[in-house]
């Protein structure tokens, strides 16, 4: 029988010392930002019912979820996303709470990814959700918080991108074609596959809408993108989406991150609980977005509580990977090791405690001799050893 007792499952890893210290320090940094804005932390269970992630707009591909069965035969999943469970909590236990709700979380999500592609199945995420307001003020709060998070991580090397899923939805819904073709158009826009998108749209027809959709994946960059978008199609709803986005963009540029805030109207995620403004954040040195989010006004209604919401999540592991290239985090090493001679062990423990109360990190020696203690201290780079016997003496290692 082959035993798997010495390795961790595919897509998971142990986090030791420096890596752990780095994750915790990132957590503290982001928690401090979220808390200072009045967000309260919540924790949702690691296991949820499958149904939470499998209805209309909260669709998760079932092959991407880790599943198990509870003692009543019901299907459970290991949490693949935090926003949906939080929407569930907001729609149930927080239903009578004063709006808006400001919630934040730091927990793992689990997604079954193709093996051997070098990506983790277990992702440590932190994020915020602002529930109960559809106002531009709410959008600006969440967007500017996301920018603040990115700039607090890598002030020079981040990029923040803004879009509005409504632009694509309005256009594609005017097309006289079936849902699977619309989905194909969406996926081609998402991967900016210009040639295949052109072929597909040509086969549907040559009109203002197909021409606008052809341009959609190219609509990324600075404010000029919005000017181009405005010329593509003239329609009350679309004009409003563009002018709202322009308003938001102009507000955000007042934060002063010149050139770091850009627009991409081709952000059309598969995860389609988003209904309006969407965002992505990138750090130089990681090949995928490290932050993503947006407005999801219909999601809570699916849990029976019809309120609008917006939020974002940060992939903490991805950030840690980037930070490791430029920062060193070290796990703490003891300052002193205290050895107690036979008969003086309790004296040594008391002496060590006295040193700790002065703020030092102190190890109690578990070795039988002072020489072994010093050899160990040298290997571990502990700078000072203390001998406790009839006399107390210190020496630097």
């Amino acid at each position: 029988m082959k035993r798997y007792d010495l390795i961790t499952p595919e897509g998971t890893k142990d986090l030791l010392f420096e890596d752990c210290a780095m994750r915790r320090s990132l957590e503290e940094k982001l928690s401090a930002i979220f808390k200072s804005k009045g967000y309260c932390e919540i924790v949702t269970p690691g296991l949820e019912f499958f149904d939470v992630f499998n209805l209309n707009s909260r669709y998760f591909p079932q092959e991407s979820m880790y599943k198990l069965v509870d003692n009543k035969g019901r299907l459970l999943v290991v949490r693949p996303d935090s926003t949906m469970p939080i929407a569930r909590v907001a729609a149930t236990r927080l239903r009578d709470a004063e709006l808006p709700l400001r919630l934040f979380y730091r927990q793992n999500v689990y997604r079954n990814k193709p093996v051997m592609r070098g990506r983790s199945d277990e992702i440590h995420q932190m994020g915020i959700e602002l529930i109960g307001s559809d106002s531009k003020r709410a959008d600006l709060e969440v967007l500017s918080s996301a920018i603040e998070v990115l700039s607090s991580l890598e002030s020079d090397n981040f990029r923040f991108e803004l879009g509005d899923i409504g632009f694509f939805r309005e256009l594609v819904n005017k097309l006289d074609t079936d849902i699977s073709t619309k989905e194909e158009i969406r996926s081609l826009i998402e991967v900016k596959n210009y040639p295949a998108l052109n072929d597909l749209l040509d086969s549907i027809g040559d009109n203002e809408i197909t021409n606008a959709l052809k341009q959609l994946p190219r609509l990324f960059g600075g404010e000029e993108v919005l000017d181009k978008a405005a010329q593509l199609y003239n329609d009350e709803k679309i004009n409003k989406i563009i002018s709202d986005l322009r308003g938001i963009y102009n507000c955000l540029t007042q934060l002063g991150y010149n050139g770091k805030i850009t627009i991409d109207l081709g952000i059309v995620n598969k995860l389609d609980y988003y209904t309006g403004v969407v965002m992505k954040g990138y750090l130089q040195g990681y090949g995928d977005a490290v932050l993503s989010g947006g407005r999801y006004n219909k999601l809570l209604a699916e849990f029976g509580y019809d309120v609008p919401a917006t939020g974002f999540a940060v992939n903490v592991d991805a950030v840690a990977k980037v930070m490791k290239q430029s920062h060193t985090y070290s796990a703490p090493v003891a300052d002193v090791i205290v050895y107690g001679e036979d008969g003086f062990v309790m004296e040594a423990i008391k002496y060590a405690n006295k040193l700790r109360s002065d703020g030092l990190i102190v190890e109690n020696s578990v070795f039988a001799s002072y020489d072994e203690t010093k050899a160990y201290a040298e290997n571990k780079k502990i700078k000072k050893a203390v001998y406790v016997g009839k006399n107390i003496s210190e020496e630097n290692i």
Binding site: G118, N193, F220, T262, G285, D288, A289
Partner: protein, 211 residues
């Protein structure tokens, strides 16, 4: 960080696509001497602003997906088999061939109620193709000459790349059905396109003008 100043890194699929891409880059005006006289080196400078990395097709996708290469040239066949998250910006037009379902000449593949066995180097492409038809098939992954499988009666048919069809013909096989056209694609990492938009867009413009 180092990334800020490093040249634009392009992963090329070793072999024919590499030669066609180098020809294209030379047509645009890049000096590709280093690639032509590469010896055993795997990372090679092209002009001052580009660095070429030579890799196997599937690895091109992996490198681009992770952002360690900004762009890549890879066949649509590998993209269809591997999937992955990247932008697929340009159909380069060279390396043209097709995916096809083929088998022994004269066989009627769809006849009968038995579950068909398919031999292929491309299990994902095969599975997707038959899924769309609502057909259950047994798929056998073969690494070398797939044409052998129907000849040795291991499979009822094969899913493979067909260029001229000569190999099929010489072995008494024929194409039953075309699955998808294939050509070389220029793929771009999702973050690189945003962080190095100007460099990448101007290179793509040059490429499109010279196709």
């Amino acid at each position: 960080m180092e990334n800020e100043k490093r040249p634009l890194r392009i992963a090329l699929t070793k072999g024919r696509l590499e030669k066609d891409t180098v020809a294209l880059l030379e047509k645009i005006g890049y000096d590709c001497t280093a690639v032509r006289e590469k010896g055993r080196k795997l990372i090679l400078p092209v002009g001052d602003s580009i660095e070429v990395v030579l890799a196997k097709a599937a690895d091109v996708i992996t490198y681009v997906e992770h952002g360690v290469c900004d762009m890549g040239v890879v066949g649509k066949d590998t993209i269809m088999e591997m999937n992955g998250k990247f932008f697929e910006l340009v159909d380069l037009g060279f390396g043209r061939c097709k995916f096809a379902l083929a088998g022994k000449k004269g066989d009627n593949f769809y006849q009968g109620y038995n579950i068909k066995t398919i031999a292929t180097k491309y299990p994902n492409v095969s599975r997707t193709f038959f899924e769309k038809k609502g057909m259950d098939v047994d798929i056998v992954k073969i690494e070398g000459s797939v044409e052998l499988a129907p000849l040795l009666s291991l499979s009822d048919a094969i899913v493979d790349i067909v260029e001229t069809g000569t190999t099929l013909k010489e072995n008494g096989l024929e194409v039953f059905e075309d699955i998808a056209p294939i050509s070389a694609r220029l793929i771009v990492n999702m973050v690189s396109l945003k962080l190095r938009q100007q460099e990448i867009e101007s290179l793509i413009k040059l490429i499109e003008e010279n196709l």
